[in-house]
């Protein structure tokens, strides 16, 4: 899979390996138990400079999405409207 995705120049891994590693790094940051419990993979990450850099990249993106999109105002009328409709529904 040529030019498959995120690839750092000088990476010791093939494109396909990069994809698989990055998928697991993302899952690690998402606290996916399957990956966190994969001791072999976690050791590999700790000892791989390239992987640690990728972790920072993925962490930045994740934090960016969360920080920029988290806060939003909820209309005060929404709760009231839901209660009224539920009341009507309940008869």
């Amino acid at each position: 899979m040529k030019n498959a995705g995120i690839k750092k120049q000088g990476s010791p891994y093939s494109d396909a390996e990069c994809e698989a590693i990055i998928l697991k790094l993302q899952a690690m940051l998402d606290q996916d138990k399957e990956v966190i419990n994969d001791q072999e993979f976690m050791e590999k990450v700790k000892n791989c400079e390239y992987c640690l850099e990728q972790v920072e990249i993925e962490k930045s993106l994740k934090e960016l999405v969360k920080d920029k999109l988290k806060s939003m105002m909820v209309s005060a009328n929404l709760v009231q409207s839901i209660r009224e409709k539920l009341h009507f529904f309940k008869g």
Binding site: K2, N3, I6, S60, K68, S81, I82, K85, L86
Partner: protein, 223 residues
Amino acid sequence: MIPEAEALPTITEETKEATDAFFESEMMVHIKPLYHFAYRLTNDEDDANDLVQDTYLKAYRFITSFERGSNAKAWLFRILKNSFINNYRKNTKEPTQIDYEEAEVFLNTGKAVWSDSIDLRDKIFRSLVGDEITNALNSLPVDFKTVIILCDIEEFSYEEIAKITDIPVGTVRSRLHRARKLLKEKLAVYARNMGYAVDNNEDEFENNQDITWGVEKVTKEAE
């Protein structure tokens, strides 16, 4: 799955009071994250309000199918997601299913090489404002957008996302991966439009216009 109405036990007068109290304490507390999710899906305040109201009416109607002690928030999100799919998605211009072939072609055409320094990329990330992130997120296929919202904004686990979206955990994992890759591409375009130079990586893509954000090459032209 929310069972058909006919198969559900009805709420009797004896249980109504307890049901109402349960509904109030366990369900109504999730309005804010539900609204967030609805708004991110619909991109419209009125549609989001309608979707949340519809979700709560369905939740009350089917409350007897909710397993006490299980995750009420995830249950509500699942109802909302299904309502959105059933009632709203057909009215949008978005494809009914992700065209994975198309997405894969886009991702594999050599537009996804990131080789800049971590600090610099973080700086570029931080310079993007909320609107740009929102636009990039909204430009994703709805199934991609959904998993990113559920994971990164609402912080559901993969298992919870799998239940909400009716897909296996492994698919959640791979879909998130594809979604994030596509999102990075969208953000790279915004960054270039902001004035960050994005040069060709000659080692990888000779004579093309692909975005690489080379470490030493990236400079902010706007300044």
